[in-house]
Symmetry: C2
Subunit: 233 residues, 2 copies
DNA sequence: CAGACCAATCTGGTTAACCAGTTATAATTA
DNA sequence: TAATTATAACTGGTTAACCAGATTGGTCTG
């Protein structure tokens, strides 16, 4: 059989096509929660695609919690009904690549909440880690060096201290994309780093004394100086 | 070679082991952004694991934006520095499975923001979709039927109308897990659905007249009745 | 006739072989 | 000798073959 090398977007497209065919099949066969999907081999034949393509599509639907694969047994429809299934697949198919604006918007939202939770829940262990990240940042920023990475680690330490694993995961997902975009647009070159030292210290202090409201305010200040140059991105 | 069937968690563990070995390798070889990782075959031999395991680990790091694979060329270190790389990998390795409490906490946070954005940015198209979901919900709830799915679709329609693709994605990720947990604990059996009709209508109306503050308040009311039975989960 | 048992089949997961660009190296030429 | 071309090795992606547990249908036994 002929092998073709596909670009990322081409691969995405045929994967979406398979997902939509799986949806049609589930509707046609009137599959309900717990029912078994046809085997991967059968699907690959029916759709005239490779089995690995089918596997990828199934794994994506598994990631969103719509299917469950059991080894040596089969792939099963998850415990959400047909209406929700159709709606969610529709949304997944229409999902766009996240733009920078939406990333920043979501980051601010998550961090303002995370810092409040961190102020309430931080353990001594959390404080130690945050202080460590804070000092690494200060050290670099004082010497005028680029400290984007150390900045990032301080913020991730806060997310961890929030005690909310879901928010922690989401922060991990969006952070590298933001960093990349930042460096593309040279956001952090303009001597912002030095101002950041005091702002970080303020945030840390508020978390240490467990003052959620103050911590949130200080984080807001930090973001204001960070993103005031970003309007034209 | 002997083939072993692994459980999900066992697989997760050896994957984390590989990730930590990759991190050690990057540190030892002092790899910088843009540098090429050893080939998948070489890594699988060096770590004494299968190539597919290595591929999975790499794909996970790719998901978090730490590596970039280029077909017929190699896998490269992403454009974030060594310090950030180490910190992020550390976080990824320590990442826990999200608990129900953190899921709900994050859902409320995301939806309260999404509904405000939706009130500001909703298009006519968005209104149509939300109204459709709303009517489907009312229809079922009036008859006393279970309407968890229709409820979910209404909330996802709001997330879409927020115009923030990142938040939309995150909502899609957490929603099915919440639904499953809900049905496990029979949260929605107690005649909540009927009250929900008016609450949904209020939210819709606020979005239609583009009043962000009101929309947020109405969403808060909705969540209050929803989650008042959840404290003991 | 009902229930236990067994073999053939089917399943997702795993491994190995293969493909076609990419890249590094060596041979060639101006 | 330096630039250029040709060739061989290497790479991630793809396909096909294989594995062992799960399932199923029929058979045998009580």
């Amino acid at each position: 059989m002929k092998i073709e090398i596909l670009t990322r977007t081409e691969n995405q497209e045929i994967q979406n096509e398979i997902i939509s065919k799986i949806r049609d099949l589930m509707n046609y066969k009137n599959l309900e929660p717990g029912d078994k999907l046809p085997s991967e081999r059968m699907l690959s034949e029916k759709f005239s695609v490779s089995r690995s393509n089918v596997r990828e599509a199934i794994q994506k639907l598994e990631f969103y919690g719509l299917l469950v694969s059991k080894p040596q047994s089969g792939t099963f429809v998850a415990d959400i009904g047909q209406v929700a299934m159709n709606g969610m697949i529709e949304d997944i198919l229409r999902l766009k690549e996240p733009d920078f604006k939406s990333l920043v918007e979501t980051r601010i939202l998550l961090e303002l909440k995370a810092v409040r939770l961190a102020a309430q829940r931080r353990t001594e262990q959390d404080l130690i880690q945050m202080k460590k990240a804070l000092e690494a940042y200060s050290e670099k920023a004082k010497n005028g060096e680029d400290a984007v990475q150390e900045d990032l680690l301080f913020h991730l330490a806060i997310a961890k201290a929030s005690g909310n694993s879901t928010m922690n995961t989401f922060m991990l997902i969006i952070t590298p994309e933001i960093i990349t975009k930042f460096e593309e647009h040279h956001v952090c070159d303009k001597g912002l780093a030095f101002m950041g030292i005091q702002e970080h210290q303020d945030i840390y202090d508020a978390i240490e004394v467990q003052d959620p409201q103050l911590a949130k305010e200080k984080m807001k200040v930090h973001f204001k100086t960070l993103y005031q140059y970003c309007y034209n991105i």
